[in-house]
């Protein structure tokens, strides 16, 4: 049996960590480097570090903060946020990234995947899918006008050469009301890549509901930023319920 992966999802803005709801209303959530050191102490399995500013502006993602964090921990870091070209990818790996997270760029330039794949391998690319549900129809955050077939979308990303997928339920994000179980089930049973789920987790029972349908990797934001949970505590509770976690 595989370990359940618990991955803090950290958002960067102006060199600070922030956290919001449904991708808006971001408020300060601490100092990046010391937060990551603490999370490693709590035995987080990986760290997701996404720079928000470089989505909005046309500037480079915050490589300095990535490097500062990397110098202090030995936990795998997936870095992303507004990555637009292969030069930025190279810089990220040089300064402490272990995997690259791509989301918006995949709508404009899927060719970047094959460039990264040839140099760093497919396993180094995590594709982000930000799903919005509306009236039983599915949309992507990046294109709210066109409803999509999620399985086709995933298939095309796999065809391009990504190694891992992060699915974010935008409607549930920051709500702490749990994830979209039906949709998760459909995705898991039709995909043979590792999938990380994000958006909506607020308590242990909601994580267990997802594990029961076959999910095993979770990106967690609100639950550790604004609530009285920490990674160790989450893992301990899962362990008590008989699930396999790493300490």
């Amino acid at each position: 049996m595989n370990f359940i992966r618990i991955i803090p999802s950290l958002l960067l803005s102006n060199k600070k960590l922030v956290k919001g709801k449904k991708f808006t209303n971001h408020i300060n959530a601490g100092y990046p480097s010391s937060t990551c050191l603490a999370l490693e102490g709590q035995k987080c399995d990986e760290i997701f570090l996404i720079d928000l500013d470089s989505y909005k502006n046309d500037k480079d993602p915050d490589f300095d903060t990535l490097n500062e964090i990397s110098k202090n921990i030995s936990t795998p870091i997936t870095f992303g946020g507004g990555i637009k070209n292969i030069e930025q990818v190279k810089k990220a790996f040089k300064l402490g990234a272990d995997k690259i997270y791509l989301s918006q760029i995949l709508f404009r330039n899927k060719k970047i995947i094959s460039k990264i794949k040839d140099i760093y391998g497919c396993q180094s690319i995590v594709a982000g899918i930000n799903i919005i549900t509306n009236d039983q129809k599915l949309y992507l955050l990046e294109d709210e006008k066109k409803n999509i077939d999620i399985l086709d979308h995933i298939k095309s990303l796999i065809g391009c050469g990504v190694g891992e997928i992060k699915v974010t339920f935008v409607n549930n994000e920051g709500s702490e009301n749990g994830m979209n179980i039906e949709l998760a089930k459909k995705i898991i049973s039709n995909t043979d890549l590792p999938i990380i789920f994000e958006g909506g987790l607020g308590n242990i029972e909601q994580i267990i509901d997802m594990i029961k349908i076959g999910a095993n990797s979770f990106a967690i934001g609100s639950m550790i930023t604004f609530k009285d949970y920490n990674i160790f505590k989450i893992k301990q509770h899962l362990f008590n319920k008989g699930y396999k976690v790493r300490f």
Partner: protein
């Protein structure tokens, strides 16, 4: 002690550098085979694709100097850095490896095509009595190709992919240690392995 990190223009160079630095090492980043004479130990990182890595090593005349280095001094190969010591690799076409280990590098043919996350290592052989890592300790993996060995003799530890499939996790032969997992990203257990490597074969 001088530890070199081979930069083959891919790699998670920053992570390997940081991991060593945290352990009190000031690593030297190597782009030139001539510099190999200046170091006592070499680390070849992972996070790369087989073909572009082997092409780089050949084009920059690294192959023979690496083989020569290995006669007297220890090398640690991580993930792809380990796989390139096999005879043949099948990622993005066929590449000839350094050939120190009798084996081939193939795509995982398990249900899940990528092995990403933490797995336990089942030790089947003791590399050295100084290696103090408990059996079934966990390490971080991120790969979709694995080394298939001709002889199990060189394998010190195995790891599972799923209930039916195991792969070599640690291999060693002469002055070479290779890990399929990433010690630089495996927190306390990874640090133990790196420290062991720094002291390995030291009188």
């Amino acid at each position: 002690m001088k530890v070199g990190i081979l930069d083959y223009k891919a790699c998670n160079l920053g992570s390997v550098f940081s991991a060593l630095y945290q352990l009190g090492i000031d690593p030297i980043i190597l782009n030139n085979p001539k510099k190999l004479s200046e170091i006592d130990r070499l680390i070849i990182p992972g996070v790369g694709a087989a073909k572009s890595c082997m092409d780089y090593l050949k084009f920059n005349s690294f192959i023979e100097p690496i083989k020569k280095f290995l006669v007297n001094k220890p090398i640690l190969g991580i993930c792809l850095g380990m796989q390139i010591f096999a005879k043949k690799l099948y990622e993005n076409g066929i590449s000839e490896g350094i050939g120190h280990i009798d084996g081939e590098v193939k795509k995982l043919d398990t249900k899940i095509k990528f092995n990403i996350g933490w797995k336990e290592v089942k030790f089947i052989k003791k590399i050295d009595k100084k290696l103090n890592i408990e059996d079934m300790s966990s390490f971080y993996y991120c790969h979709s190709y694995y080394i298939s060995l001709k002889k199990i003799d060189y394998c010190a530890g195995m790891s599972y992919i799923d209930n039916n499939n195991e792969i070599p996790a640690i291999i060693y032969k002469d002055n070479f240690i290779g890990t399929q997992f990433h010690p630089e990203k495996s927190q306390t257990n990874g640090n133990k392995l790196l420290e062991f490597f720094f002291n390995w074969k030291k009188n």
